[in-house]
Amino acid sequence: MRKFAALMHARNMEFVRDRGNLFWNLLFPVFLVFGFSFAFSGGDDTLFKVGVIGNSEIVSEFLQEPYLEKIPYEETPFALDKLRHHQLDMVIDLQKSSYFINDDSAKGEVAENLFVSDDGAQNFSRKEVSGEPIRYVDWFVPGVIGMNMMFSCIFGVGWIIVRYRKNGVLKRLKATPVRALEFISAQLVSRLLIVLLTSIVVFTGTNIFLEFMMEGSFLNLILITAVATICMISFGLVFAARIKSEELANGLMNLALWPMMAFSGVFFSLEGTPLLLRKLSRIFPLTHYIEAARAIMLDGAGLADILPNIAVLLGMTALFLLVSSFMFKWE
């Protein structure tokens, strides 16, 4: 335990005293949150977004209008959640000849007027839902926290261990009674604390100004962040297991990170993307984190709701740890 504590303390000191790295870890996500909040604050004024359930070929001219974006849904409750959060202006259920409007949405009212003036819509029954709008920044902030966590874990553990191996720090530790498990777990816990702390600082700091929507429990958000962080660190350890070249490690890490960042729903929703892409996105730990964090923040999901995400992340963690411990070499 003394060895573990000493190694962890040394790594923490290294991180905290590396001012450039520290500020990057704190300021980069803050810039992103404010930057994207500003960039998307104007909203999308030119389109109506209409969720459509059922075959849209059979109905009205309204659905053929070029200023309207149709988004097909298979399940009504899912589409209605989007409507409640003002992510859709209207939902039309063609199978049941009904349409749904959010009574708090002005755009929804305009869309409704256009729809009911169409002959094809005369037999449709009207239903209402209600709910506060979700700003882009509310939706975006779990993605930023997740992305920052991903970079911090994979580079802060994976790349650092590769550097230690290349410059001989690992060889020097090998010449002491320290076991690989003690060294690795010290790195893991050190980074877990750092990521949790920076995530909390970034979240609370930006929340003062932007007041994010928070429907669920803060503790659940911290829990899923901790589980995802351990998973990401374990993923980083796979790269760190035996690569000696920083350049190679850098290349391989980027090869894994960029697709994960692009297709985990950090910047845009995967709804409406091809099924293959949505299925592919399930292999990324970041997808499961962002999905669970958004569910907590925006839908008020409880622990039971995010258990499947936690289970997947823990399963991935076990797999990554198994592979990295099997492959690990000091030199």
């Binding site: 060895k3 190694l7 290294e14 720090v169 020097r172 010449a175 002491t176 009674p177 030199e331």
Partner: protein, 290 residues
């Protein structure tokens, strides 16, 4: 005396390259043993197999007569040829870190005193000079109060002043009765510090004994050195070595008389007793620092 370290028929291959070729050694407890040789002779590979860092291709390394076991690194201290230290932590923190890695360790004040680290305790590892850095690495090698200290070319790259300071630290460690295994290609270092030496070349041990005995067995008389010149009147046995003429002289008076008698210029002439460098040259036909 009992042997604290020994190696039996040790070999190491790197692909098709045979770095160490079937060598055996026994090192007695409490001595400073020098492993000498030029770059690429196999010194570092040998010492790292003895340290339990490298796995031999064949043969084995023993500590107190038994194969290296799980507690070996608790009982030995190692200074590698090149080691980076963690950035952004101080000398004092580095010492504390390494002290915590051992189940027993000696008093930090003692280590700081032996390795003269008192003035640089608060200094970041990144800002240490070459000499300060080697002193810290030596401190890390003795922080666990080891029975054996392995030092792999500890003074390479240091200026002459820092090198001499480092020798005095090794002398202090020797006085504590610890066994020191030192590799070097500085012959002066080996002559000053080592009780016994083994000379390696191309993966083999070509000679092994107490330095004075080795020299006595291989040389009589002195060596006269002159800058290279083309002259047919040089005494018998004169050979060209690099830019010099070397004359092994059994009778210095007669040799000098011969040179003066034949009007050979004596500018740059030096006379010295044979040393380990000369011995290596004699045994292998090449310079130690080649």
């Amino acid at each position: 005396m009992s042997s604290i370290l020994s190696i039996e028929n040790l070999s190491k291959n790197y692909g098709k390259v045979l770095a160490v070729d079937n060598i055996s050694l026994k090192i007695e407890e409490g001595i400073c043993f020098g492993l000498l040789g030029p770059n690429g002779a196999g010194k570092t590979t040998t010492i790292e197999m003895m340290e339990g860092i490298l796995k031999p291709t064949t043969g084995r390394a023993l500590f107190r007569g038994k194969p290296i076991g799980p507690h070996f690194h608790q009982r030995v201290g190692i200074q590698f040829q090149s080691t980076a230290l963690q950035d952004f932590i101080t000398v004092e923190e580095t010492l504390k870190l390494f002290s915590a890695l051992y189940s027993t360790h000696r008093d930090s004040e003692e280590v700081i005193e032996i390795c003269s680290l008192g003035d640089i305790l608060k200094r970041d590892n990144r800002k240490l000079s070459g000499g300060q850095r080697q002193r810290l690495l030596l401190a890390l090698a003795i922080v666990n109060d080891p029975e054996v200290v392995f030092l792999d070319e500890p003074t390479t790259g240091l200026d002459p002043q820092a090198r001499r300071n480092f020798w005095s630290l090794i002398e202090k460690i020797k006085k504590e009765g610890k066994t020191v295994l030192l590799t070097t290609h500085y012959m002066e270092e080996a002559e000053i510090l080592c009780d016994e030496v083994a000379i390696m070349d191309q993966g083999h041990i070509v000679a092994r004994d107490v330095p004075k005995k080795l020299l006595a067995e291989n040389f009589d008389g002195v060596i006269v050195k002159l800058p290279w010149m083309k002259n047919n009147q040089l005494p018998d046995g004169a050979v060209q070595v690099d830019d010099y003429i070397e004359i092994h002289s059994m009778d210095i008076d007669a040799t000098l008389h011969h040179l003066i008698h034949h009007s050979i210029h004596l500018d740059g002439l030096t006379i010295h007793a044979p040393n380990l460098e000369d011995l290596f040259l004699k045994l292998t036909g090449s310079s130690l620092r080649a």
